[in-house]
């Protein structure tokens, strides 16, 4: 059975929510913390509710709606989200008040909205969707697990349309803490220079990418979601290379069948080394596109990568801002998205033009 991407929606530090040519006029930053470019959320959410919603909920609801609208689906049969950090802002608000007020006189709103399933629950509530509803919170696999769950359910035949996506937000607290862990660059780097910056550390990002998946192809559908795979804590580079080979075999193809690789390079010289190794071993002459200089690094950033890969298949061209190496062939049929998060969570998503 083929699984089709019938609609996509993305809210990110780029102007991805407004349609138009793919990443034609990229926003250029010179900072280590990127924030989403917010669309007008009033088109989907009541003004009174917007005030109470945290950013992660708004961007999740927004991207979900964009993807459903693109697919022409009003109510999906299932809603599956992935979020590594969950609702950090409301968690921080409740935690701060709890500490400062010595556990007294607290109000419920922030607590209610702090649970990791708030985004999926709010989407269900706004769509009046009684279907299957799940939330994966597994670090750099959160988004991929949501796709895997969706694929398995679609293959069972009980659902026709599934909304699946990934979302994560940055807050002042989380950025302060992750910076203390040494994840980010010490000095700001320009967007188009991130991937070639000769230092460790990356730039922080956030965003939401949702996909309306279906078992039938719509007139506007450009790509099939051919496969998704995860690899946890590979012992060495060879295991990653072997895993990719096995994944391609499972989907009846070889590296030669791949027209473009989209990799999760994030500008950290240590973390990017594996992409070099993989490209040298399996894809030495392939064109490579990248995305994390545009959206920043976060555990569900692969969602942006898959969104971009789908857009590349639609336009049959790699936007200049995403080009990293070589030139993609005229006909872009198969795109492999290979991402890793912090060296421990590796994932593969294969898209095929249809």
């Amino acid at each position: 059975m083929n699984i089709y991407i019938n609609g996509t929606g993305c809210i990110s530090p780029q102007e991805t929510a407004q349609g138009g040519p793919l990443l034609a006029t990229p926003r250029e930053y010179e900072q280590v913390r990127l924030s989403t470019v917010d669309p007008d959320y009033k088109q989907w959410i009541d003004v009174k509710q917007i005030r109470r919603m945290s950013r992660v909920v708004k961007m999740g609801v927004g991207a979900a709606n964009l993807s459903l609208e693109a697919a022409g689906v009003t109510t999906p049969d299932a809603i599956i989200t992935g979020t590594a950090y969950g609702c950090l802002d409301d968690t921080g608000v409740f935690l701060t008040k709890m500490v400062n007020q010595q556990e007294e006189m607290l109000t419920p709103t922030a607590f209610i909205q702090s649970t990791h399933n708030t985004v999926a629950g709010q989407i269900a509530l706004l769509l009046s969707c009684n279907g299957y509803n799940n939330t994966f919170v597994h670090r750099g696999f959160s988004f991929e697990n949501a796709l895997q769950d969706a694929i398995m359910i679609l293959k069972e035949g009980s659902a026709k349309h599934i909304l699946a996506g990934g979302v994560d937000e940055i807050t002042n607290y989380s950025h302060a803490l992750l910076s203390r862990f040494g994840l980010y660059k010490k000095a700001p780097v320009k967007t188009m220079e991130v991937l070639n910056s000769p230092s460790t550390g990356t730039i922080a990002g956030e965003g939401a990418a949702f996909f309306t998946l279906g078992i039938t192809k719509d007139p506007g559908t450009v790509a099939e979601l051919t496969g998704v795979s995860t690899l946890y804590k590979p012992l060495w580079e060879g295991e990653v290379i072997g895993h990719i080979m096995k994944f391609l075999e499972e989907h009846y193809c070889t590296p030669a069948d791949i027209d473009l690789i989209v990799t999760g390079r994030n500008g950290d010289i240590d973390q990017d080394e594996i992409y070099e190794e993989v490209a040298a071993a399996l894809f030495p002459d392939h064109a490579e596109a990248c995305f994390k200089h545009l959206c920043g690094e976060y555990p569900t950033a692969a969602g942006f990568g898959v969104w971009m890969a789908n857009g590349i298949i639609a336009e049959q061209a790699v936007p200049e801002a995403a080009e990293f190496y070589g030139k993609a062939p005229k006909k872009i049929n198969k795109v492999l998205v290979y991402n890793h998060h912090q060296g421990t969570h590796h994932s593969l998503v294969l898209l095929t033009a249809c």
Partner: protein, 397 residues
């Protein structure tokens, strides 16, 4: 896709016992786990009874063979997951393609909330090792790494149904031939964050909770972990499985972020969906392990949904949360183990402190422990915030 998925074993740590055997003894002895707070430090210590696991972190770390300073959520998870694996008789874990799918809602919040006062006073303050495992997924990985599981590691957080959804996803991983075995369930430690959160919702009972009793006024929080070992048909043939996970469904109430709809729409859809998947009629269910938190809202919604689906043939039912408290992300896992064991041993668990019939309902929960019943099919309900409702069905064959 027709392959069956079996339960090859299970493990539980909860407020009524450090392992499954001890939990069972507490049911037999009618000894619920609620007491004054002993291990968690909170301003509400004297106000709300809780069902804590009766051991400090040093003791749990010894049992788990993990460092004492890591999150209690991981310690509880490790102890129950290892018990589950050992009970399965599968032996050396490296011989199989194994997945670990764990639900939790708090992650390492127990450490984060200790870290936060110093951090709020000074952004460079607080010791980073206390927040390194804050993420829910990090807790799962600590345990997966200890057990030597790498084929598939995942974490689910759907509030109080997290553990139940872990079983569904685990079952699908086996049916899709991604792994042969999955340790699936959930874990949660008691934290000030959740205690205060539930307190703001005004659904905590200051007395031991009374699920499905007309005088109920709220829930007691608990903590713990519970995992089953799911195995494929071919592996089950080499073992003596407890029972089969024959049906499951997950539905969303789509009514309110925290409250259940008055007619229990999500609850009904989850139970109905699970019955449909297992190909059963309602009257074939012999026992229901209720979600049964003891809040006004949950029990009436769940009860009305059961009435709509099962009338006039009501199975035996009870809320084991009257013993373990509400263990949130762990509850679906803990109650899955209790339910699977119920099929194996014909157990009907008691619902403690039930005295007054709910006026909205024509049925009452079981109030005493009994075993040796001929239970062919047992249902376990888990309903939660965000409208997340899940039901599982365990069958003898």
């Amino acid at each position: 896709m027709s392959e069956k998925v079996w339960i090859a074993g299970g493990g539980v740590i909860s407020g009524i016992g450090l392992d499954l055997k001890a939990c069972l003894q507490s049911f037999r002895d009618m000894q619920p786990g609620m007491a004054a707070m002993q291990y968690l430090s909170s301003a509400h210590r004297g106000t709300f009874p809780v069902a804590e696991v009766k051991a400090d972190n040093a003791t749990l770390a010894d049992m788990a063979r993990m460092p004492e300073q890591i999150s209690r959520t991981a310690l509880l998870s490790m102890i129950a997951a290892r018990e589950a694996w050992q009970s399965s008789g599968l032996g050396d874990i490296s011989r199989y393609r194994v997945g670990f799918v764990s639900g939790n809602t708090v992650g390492g919040m127990d450490k984060t909330e200790d870290f936060f006062p110093e951090f709020l006073a000074n952004p460079r303050g607080g010791r980073l090792h206390q927040v390194v495992h804050h993420e829910c997924g990090s807790i799962t990985e600590l345990v997966a790494d200890m057990l030597g599981i790498r084929h598939h590691v995942s974490t689910i957080s759907t509030a109080c149904s997290s553990g139940a959804n872990a079983l569904m996803y685990g079952s699908r991983l086996i049916r899709n031939n991604m792994v042969d075995v999955v340790i699936a369930g959930g874990t949660d430690a008691l934290t000030r964050f959740t205690l205060n959160g539930f307190n703001t919702l005004m659904i905590l009972d200051q007395q031991p909770c009374r699920p499905f009793d007309d005088t109920r006024t709220g829930l007691n929080l608990g903590e713990g972990a519970g995992y089953v070992v799911l195995v494929s048909d071919s592996l089950a043939a080499q073992l003596q499985p407890w029972c089969r996970l024959s049906g499951f469904a997950n539905a969303n109430d789509a009514y309110h972020q925290t409250a259940s709809s008055p007619d229990g729409t999500g609850n009904y859809l989850a139970m109905k969906g699970a019955l449909d998947m297992s190909g059963l009629q309602p009257q074939q269910i012999g026992y229901i392990n209720l979600h049964g938190t003891g809040t006004q809202n949950n029990d009436v919604s769940e009860g009305i949904a059961i009435n709509r689906l099962f009338a006039p043939h009501f199975p035996a039912m009870s809320s084991t949360k009257s013993f373990t408290g509400h263990t949130l992300g762990a509850s679906g896992g803990i109650e899955a183990v209790f339910s699977a064991l119920a099929v194996k041993e014909g157990i009907i668990y008691p619902n403690a402190r039930f005295e007054h019939q709910m006026k909205e309902l024509p049925f009452a929960p079981a109030t005493s422990y009994s075993a040796g019943h001929d239970l062919q099919h047992v249902m376990s309900n888990s309903f939660g915030f965000g409208g997340n409702c899940s039901s599982l069905i365990f069958s003898r064959a």
